[in-house]
Amino acid sequence: MEQLIAFAGSNIQMVYILILSVFLGVVVIGGVPSVLHTPLMSGANAIHGVVVVGAIIVVLKTDSTNYAALCLGFLAVVLGTLNVVGGFAVTDRMLEMFRPKKRRAP
């Protein structure tokens, strides 16, 4: 328990970001019409792909001779990038169809 309090205290700015972001997350998508629920979920899905940053850091931190860890790190980078690129691409494809003007038939 003491260690947890010490951890929170020494990372108090991060804890602030965490708490404030919770409120922000709820407010920022407030009033979203149900039409956009699927694209929004998909877009949010792409944003948590920021985990790939962690995958990059973990590979950079790994000992260069620890090949098992490097392999796992490689896998993490692949999975994280799949999440980011796939997520944003699929969201864009969905939103592409919500153009304000109807496309003319050729």
Binding site: Q3, F7, M14, S21, L24, G25, V26, V28, I29, G30, V32, L36, H37, T38, L40, M41, S42, A44, N45, I47, H48, G49, V50, V51, V52, V53, A55, I56, I57, V58, V59, L60, T62, L70, L72, F74, L75, V77, V78, L79, G80, T81, L82, N83, V84, V85, G86, G87, F88, A89, V90, T91, D92, R93, M94, L95, E96, F98, P100, A105
Partner: protein, 464 residues
């Protein structure tokens, strides 16, 4: 490395965090949604590039690691792009689930590797363990959700005492994680991750088809939470804001979806929606007969109507009939019939799924009515054409207190003068319950695959 690099990196993360917030905000409104997504993607690119260029010490021994990272990004990027661009629009929900699982898996691996780096600090190890476990649950759960939605796993799987087994496994996860934190070695961490993955599988397996969107949204927020914990462990602001934002927004979105179905989250996770018992109990009470209608009779009925409302459901998506339904709409409009679509908030497999599909078929955005604006219209409607929808038009939600969907708001098709229901068979919908609408005196059943039936209707209309 210049001594300001660290500050530049922090500033880049700040900009990325702002783009995530602004992007999510813009994605909540139809006009700005696409740009919002692009802005968030640009912020992501900045975060990744800055991490690659500005973190680490870039000694010569780093070349191998940089090569590994770049190879990983290239492989993941190309594969993600190809899959996202080539998949069919009807397969969107499972794809979102799959990508979500990838993110969870990434967080789980990071946690596993980080365990070796965190020395004596038990609190820091708890944070790492939390990210790892939640990531593991999210990964396994999302993969199961993907398999269920793509049809590889068909029936909800539930056995007596399921909640007790699940509870025991969850307790096992916590104990293993606690051991890993205290022991500060990797072996218990591997066990904790394996049990967490098992929990993810058991968590999603029993959940019925109608509840899948809620579960995907929930797993999405789980991954967000896992990323937030990783970010906390790394003191990385971009990961923290991105993760918490998605965790909070995802949870909020999950609750909105539950409200639209009049279900509580607890019910979705622990309830027995769609279980055979509930289905049998609710299904025995309906008496009466079902009336068939032929394609040509239905075409005549539609032709002489002045106002038609189409009610699309998941059956339309399964049959890939979104283009056919748009064609029917145009054919009817050419005959002077006023056609619109009534979209239930949870029609399809995800909220907004129908809108996405119909937009793909170039259906005019203005013709899509949401439930609130559609319901008063049915009273003046000549024909309500229900295509592959079931539970969202089931009057049991209003009349039968014992029904599992009782209280769910439904589309008021009963007030229309005629109801034509296009359906493959008399089978029940995802909720697994009978629909008394089919026995309504005003209702006629038009059996067949939605796409073929619609094509038949269009052909008949042209003859009239």
């Amino acid at each position: 490395m210049m001594h300001t690099d660290g500050y530049v990196l922090d500033l880049c993360y700040l900009v990325s965090s702002v783009t995530f917030i602004a992007g999510l905000r813009m994605m909540s409104s139809p006009k700005t949604a696409r740009n919002g997504n692009l802005i968030a993607a640009a912020g992501m690119l900045l975060a990744v590039a800055a991490t690659l260029l500005l973190s680490g010490d870039h000694a010569s021994s780093e070349v191998l690691k940089l090569a590994i990272i770049i190879a990983g990004i290239t492989l993941g990027g190309v594969a993600g792009w190809i899959v996202a661009r080539s998949v069919k629009m009807t397969a969107m929900p499972q794809l979102v689930s799959l990508f979500n699982g990838m993110g969870g898996g990434c967080a789980a691996i990071i946690g596993l590797l980080e365990f070796g780096h965190k020395g004596g600090d038990a609190a820091a190890r708890s944070v790492v363990a939390a990210g790892m476990i939640i990531g593991g649950v999210s990964f396994a759960g999302s993969v199961i959700a993907f398999l269920k939605l793509s049809g590889a796993i068909k029936r909800p799987f539930r056995m007596p005492g399921y909640n007790i087994v699940n509870g025991a496994v969850l307790a096992g996860v916590l104990v293993a994680a606690g051991l890993a934190v205290v022991a500060a070695t990797s072996a218990p961490a591997y066990i904790a991750l394996a049990v967490a993955a098992l929990y993810g599988v058991l968590f999603v397996l029993p959940i019925g088809g109608a509840d899948m969107p809620v579960v995907i949204s929930l797993l999405n927020s789980f991954t967000g939470l896992a990323v937030a914990f990783s970010g906390l462990g790394y003191n990385n602001q971009a990961m923290l804001t991105g993760g918490v934002l998605v965790g909070a927004a995802g949870t909020f979105l999950t609750i909105i979806m539950c409200k639209a179905m009049n279900r509580s989250l607890v019910n979705v996770v622990f309830g027995a929606f769609g279980s055979p018992v509930a289905a049998a109990a609710a299904g025995t009470s309906i008496k009466g007969s079902v009336k068939d209608i032929s394609v040509s009779d239905a075409a005549v009925l539609l032709n002489y109507a002045s106002k038609v409302i189409i009610v699309p459901g998941y059956g339309l998506a399964v049959a890939q009939a979104q283009h056919a339904v748009h064609e029917l709409e145009t054919a009817l409009a050419a005959k002077g019939v006023n056609v619109s679509y009534a979209i239930h908030p949870v029609a399809g497999r995800m909220p907004g799924h129908m809108n996405v599909l119909l937009a793909e078929a170039n259906v005019d955005y203005d013709k899509l009515l949401d439930m609130e604006s559609a319901n008063p219209q049915f009273a003046t409607t000549d024909v309500a054409l229900v295509v592959g929808a079931n539970d969202v038009v089931n009057p049991a939600a209003r009349n039968t207190a014992s029904s599992p969907i009782y209280g769910m708001p439904i589309l008021d098709v009963e007030s229309a003068r005629n109801i034509i229901i296009v359906k493959r068979s008399m089978n029940t919908g995802y909720a697994g319950i009978e629909n008394e609408l089919f026995y309504n005196a005003k209702a006629s059943m038009l059996f067949g695959d939605a796409k073929q039936v619609l094509a038949g209707l269009i052909a008949e209309l042209k003859k009239i």
